[in-house]
């Protein structure tokens, strides 16, 4: 599934402007402790987190993730979106909660890592 298709699936807006949304999503993950994600992230991952700190982009970039999904309508600051564009990590924002997002992704066959 591509980032574009994933966005439709989870009713998300793609807030980054220049990231290739045709990129494949390989697997899904959710966690809010960035140290944990640093240790357990992987390439092509779609990562759901309520954290919106700039460090999220660093962690996603470190693992060459496909995208970060911010749930529950949480706003992402412009400088964080700018950094994500620069690093080529898509940011998706949606009003859905992490549980619902995981359920939909799982039902469509996106695996855990």
């Amino acid at each position: 599934m591509t980032i574009q298709e994933l966005a439709a699936l989870v009713e998300a807006n793609i807030v980054t402007a220049s990231v290739d949304t045709g990129r494949e999503v390989e697997c899904g993950y959710t966690c809010d402790l960035l140290s944990w994600v640093m240790a357990n992230g992987s390439e092509g991952m779609a990562w759901i987190t309520v954290q919106t700190h700039m460090n999220v982009i660093a962690v996603a970039t470190l693992h060459d993730m496909s995208c970060v999904i911010i749930p529950e309508g949480i706003k992402v600051e412009d400088d964080v979106i700018g950094k994500a564009d620069e690093e080529g990590v898509a940011i998706l924002t949606t009003s859905l909660g992490a549980y619902e997002i995981c359920g939909r992704m799982n039902a469509k066959g996106i695996p855990a890592k």
């Binding site: 402790l33 960035l34 140290s35 944990w36 994600v37 640093m38 954290q51 919106t52 700190h53 700039m54 460090n55 660093a58 962690v59």
Partner: protein, 215 residues
């Protein structure tokens, strides 16, 4: 812990200056300050903030008034959740004689709806010091919550828990502080950590931190 037993225990343990840092509040500092003055222990006014990211960050102020002003300013960002004493303990407000004169109803340990960036810059604007707390402790330490210490926030120092591993690489060049982080009287440390200050006052502490040039 009461104003008198905190300050007097500090005196017995030979501490010259103490920072008293309630979670997200400075409302007890005026009373603590008066008791400390009477007993002869210097007080560094402080608050232990819990940021939106669930990072604990110490804020140090030059005066009790500045701390109280900041405390009032952030109160609206504290979720309107009531404390449950059975889980979190009482949040009693006491006077100089340790008599209970009130109770804080809102749960103080909750995370503020302000990010660590917001808070660090707010503190900088108010000439206060932002110091991520117990960075290597795990729960509510910045290294666990955010993976690494972000290089862009205006932190003044890092509070490092003694006896726990600390990564050697990737930390910004800032002074390290150590504290007892005592939540109970028996956890207060003896005078085992020292700073050499020009004066044993908040100003002396600020000068030390702000003039620190690295090890």
């Amino acid at each position: 812990m009461t104003p008198n037993n905190i300050v007097n225990m500090a005196k017995i343990k030979g501490l010259d200056m103490i920072a008293v840092a309630d979670h997200n509040s400075a409302r007890h500092l005026p009373v603590i300050s008066r008791v400390a003055q009477e007993v002869g222990v210097a007080l560094l006014p402080a608050i232990e903030l819990n940021t939106r990211e669930e990072v604990h960050m110490l804020a140090y102020f030059e005066s009790v008034e500045a701390a109280v002003d900041f405390s009032e300013e952030i109160y609206e960002y504290l979720p309107k959740v009531k404390n449950r004493a059975s889980l979190f303990g009482r949040q009693a407000l006491m006077d100089e004689d340790d008599e209970i004169i009130g109770e804080e109803e809102r749960l103080l340990i909750n995370a503020l709806s302000l990010s660590i960036d917001d808070l660090a810059f707010m503190l900088k604007d108010r000439k206060a010091l932002a110091v991520p707390a117990h960075i290597n402790r795990g729960s509510n330490g910045i290294l666990q919550a955010l993976g690494f210490v972000p290089p862009t926030e205006p932190f003044s120092a890092l509070e490092v828990s003694v006896g726990l591993p600390l990564p050697h690489k990737g930390l910004p060049s800032l002074p390290h502080l150590h504290s007892s982080d005592a939540h109970y009287l028996e956890n207060m440390l003896e005078a085992t950590e020292f700073l050499t200050l020009d004066s044993c006052t908040p100003r002396g502490f600020f000068d030390y931190i702000q003039n620190w040039k690295g090890n």
